[in-house]
């Protein structure tokens, strides 16, 4: 019996890192956008936070696109 520990290990590692990274990025994006609302309430624009938020969302969208690519391929 040959158990492919390397494949199992990489599934473990990749899943952990990708999940945590994606969830982290997406949450940062959400928080960034929520800053805009509180800033506009005070008449400010939170340009930096909003730009960062969209960058985070873009990274997540790229990950989703790669996921769809993996399903199709």
């Amino acid at each position: 019996m040959k158990i492919d520990w390397a494949a199992l290990g990489s599934v473990f590692g990749v899943s952990l890192i990708v999940t945590v990274a994606l969830v982290g990025l997406f949450t940062l994006g959400i928080v960034g956008l929520s800053k805009r609302e509180s800033a506009s309430a005070q008449g400010d624009t939170a340009t930096l936070a909003v730009t960062g938020a969209y960058a985070c969302f873009a990274a997540c969208a790229a990950a989703v696109a790669y996921g769809i690519y993996l399903i199709v391929a």
Partner: protein, 413 residues
């Protein structure tokens, strides 16, 4: 489509029925968290999942070459064996659905195949070490991997979003949950509809209708896609309730973390060469996110019943498959009797399920363990808190009263 014998016809119909049960059995994987956190209305969620399953069925051109992935020796497999295997898989899927337990449809099919193959050709037709590496080990690894990832992700997302208000973040979490649920649905359609296509194609090749090695005819692809989509749209509400509400209580951030973890694990595992069960990954992710929130709990009694069901899947479906193969071996009357028994068994399970139906309307009303008499009594007299989250309105419009029909579970109260 000429020369389709009675037996071949029965196998094709049975394969489509299995595909259908696979659809409603696995709706929970993609949509349970989305439904229980109120990100999507139940009907919308299953409709979206059904469409994505259908799309997924047409997406990939690489059709499953083997139906068992090397578990059994498929050379010279007879059509009756495939039929018997499907009978075992369908009945196990229906039984676990009746009990509301998420279990892997693929493992049920594997179990049925093993049982039928052993009865047909003896133990030598089963590849024992493949059973360990493809079924047993993944069953332990999947919930661990997905659970750990979901737990860490839940912790992280709560930490980051601590300062932002719940109002501000709920829309974002909703979008994130829907996206990752969509990915899971798409992947499910691709994988599992392909499996049915593989079975029908194999049956057609065995029956001499199409040449070995040929691609599945278009009608096979279309019917397999439609069967799984219809099943998904029907919605296995019993299992959705267990996964979304029974294992733990999910808030939107947890639902998002769990679903993202499940999607990642499913995609990563199938492309790094160590396939993990979708159902087991999703259940693991849900439990992990339950543990990841401060004060979150996992209902281990429900989880234990689920683990037991996982352990029983292979032997139980195998026994039924073996029994069915024993009957089909006896000749035409045996095949017809097996078909009749399958229909009768399904009818009994369906009738039993009508006693306490779980439908689109009550899927989020927990009749499970923690809502014991005291809790529900308190809920009935306490007015809902004034500052309820927006999502809670969608989530529950009624407060579940004590469910009189719910049988007393020993682990309750």
């Amino acid at each position: 489509m000429e020369h389709i014998t009675l037996l071949l016809g029965i196998v094709i119909v049975t394969a489509l029925v299995f595909d259908f049960t696979n659809g409603f059995h696995d709706t929970a994987n993609a949509m349970a968290t989305t439904i229980s956190t109120g990100a999507l209305k139940p009907k919308t969620a299953v409709a979206m999942s059904a469409v994505l399953n259908l799309v997924g069925a047409f997406l990939s051109v690489e059709v499953a070459k083997t139906i068992s992935g090397g578990l059994i020796n498929e050379e010279g497999i007879r059509t009756e064996v495939i039929f018997a295997a499907l009978v075992g898989a369908i009945l196990w899927n229906l039984l676990t659905w009746l009990l509301g337990l998420p279990s892997s449809s693929s493992h049920a099919l594997f179990g049925g195949l093993i049982g039928a193959a052993v009865m047909s050709a003896g133990w030598s037709s089963v590849n024992g070490s493949t059973v360990v590496t493809k079924v047993l080990l993944p069953a332990i690894a999947a919930p661990l991997v997905a659970g750990l990832a979901a737990m860490l992700a839940t912790r992280l997302t709560y930490r980051i979003s601590k300062k932002a208000g719940e109002q501000a973040t709920s829309k974002g979490y909703r979008a994130g949950q829907i996206t990752s649920a969509g990915l899971v649905s798409l992947a499910h359609g691709t994988n599992d509809a392909q499996k049915t296509m593989g079975i029908i194609t194999l049956a057609l090749v065995t029956g001499g209708v199409i040449a070995p090695g040929s691609n599945p005819p278009l009608w096979v692809i279309v019917s397999a896609g439609i069967a799984i989509a219809l099943g998904t749209y029907l919605g296995g509400w019993r299992i959705i309730r267990t996964m979304g509400k029974g294992l733990t209580d999910l808030a939107p951030p947890q639902g998002f973390a769990a679903q993202t973890s499940a999607a990642t694990v499913i995609l990563a595992s199938s492309h790094l060469g160590f396939s993990l069960s979708t159902t087991q990954s999703c259940s693991g992710a849900v439990m992990g996110s339950g543990l990841g929130r401060k004060g979150g709990v996992v209902r281990w009694s429900t989880a234990t019943r689920m683990f037991v069901a996982w352990g029983l899947t292979l032997p139980a479906a195998g026994l039924v498959g073996a029994g069915a193969e024993f009957l089909t071996k006896q000749g035409t009357w045996g095949i017809i009797l097996t078909g009749a028994l399958l229909i009768a068994g399904s009818a009994v399970i369906w009738t039993l399920s009508r006693r306490q139906p779980v439908t689109v309307d009550n899927v989020n009303d927990v009749g499970g363990e923690p809502a014991g008499v005291v809790t529900t009594a308190i809920a009935a007299v306490t007015p809902p808190p004034a500052g309820t989250v927006a999502a809670a309105d969608e989530l529950k419009t009624t407060i579940p009263g004590p469910d009189a029909t719910e049988p007393a579970r020993p682990a309750t109260v």
